[in-house]
Symmetry: C2
Subunit: 204 residues, 2 copies
Amino acid sequence: MNRNFDFVSDKRLEGQLDFIIEIDKLKNIARKSMVFDGSHFENDAEHSWTISVLAILLREYANFNVNIEKVIIMLLIHDIVEVYAGDTFLYSAKRSAAHIEEEKSAEKIFGFLEEDQKEYFLSLWKEFEERKTNEAKFATVFDRLEPLVQNYMTQGGTWKKYNVTYQMVIDKTSHIQEGSKEIWDFVKKLLQVCVERGYLAKEE
Amino acid sequence: MNRNFDFVSDKRLEGQLDFIIEIDKLKNIARKSMVFDGSHFENDAEHSWTISVLAILLREYANFNVNIEKVIIMLLIHDIVEVYAGDTFLYSAKRSAAHIEEEKSAEKIFGFLEEDQKEYFLSLWKEFEERKTNEAKFATVFDRLEPLVQNYMTQGGTWKKYNVTYQMVIDKTSHIQEGSKEIWDFVKKLLQVCVERGYLAKEE
């Protein structure tokens, strides 16, 4: 392992600093969808920022009380595992295989930290992935919502490019309603508009 | 004003959605320094993500108890005003003029939201700018720390490019100690190493 901060005598701090250097690689991991103005493919760091702000902005629409601090921290770190595992498209058949890779990746990346912090981040990441707690359900809303709005803003974006249909989108995003019925109502309307405007294909 | 979501009948939600589209412009606002691996100039969204994660990661080094939720939200939104005002280099003589521009910009960008949310974000942004509360002091640590580490990782980066000296850096960053004495100790060591390695000029 590369020691970037060999002049630091405190091993705990050195690990924390090396961790922040390592996760910076997210800025070079491109996602499938473009930022709202279509100027470039979004990277994982930009994505994590947007969905964290979305959670703060739209917290009033949660189906239940949530610990918003936990929701934000989950969202800020949820993609860190992609530093080694890379981004996998939501509609890819390789999503299950990807998950195994991500678990290995999580052990490795959070392993830069001492045991207490490693466990703290690992457990938050697992909680997010399992989508069982209120915080995880609400956090997931924004991870799903952002690309939908991106595809709307870019007149179909990845849907057109990868032949994604209305029903496929519904199947992969309907659990938004478990975190927020109001946001799910918005999404249904959004998808309807996308079909009407020809951004998203619907089988007759 | 462009109505991106004209099919949404709820004006509050429509404003929130337009706000998230508008602040996405931060992803096209380049900062002066490069990401840690030197691959590209960092944009404001990437920067906001990194310093938010840094605050979570290094919270144990705060000089006092902090409300970390507030610290993170401050950091996530602190640069949103640059959507209209642009980024100003820390060592620029135009920093005061820039601040007036930023206040106008803040009114405009948070004006997308209804009064309660506008006031919430405006007051958090002002609290951060004034650096008086514990949360603002601690949040500022990371806004200052990241470019220092970036310049270290890129063998001098913007310091060399703009002839920034050791004393100028000390003058502009020494208030890190108001938020975290331990991180300030690290920064002093880091700057010393930078001088020794020729990344940063020190007057004799």
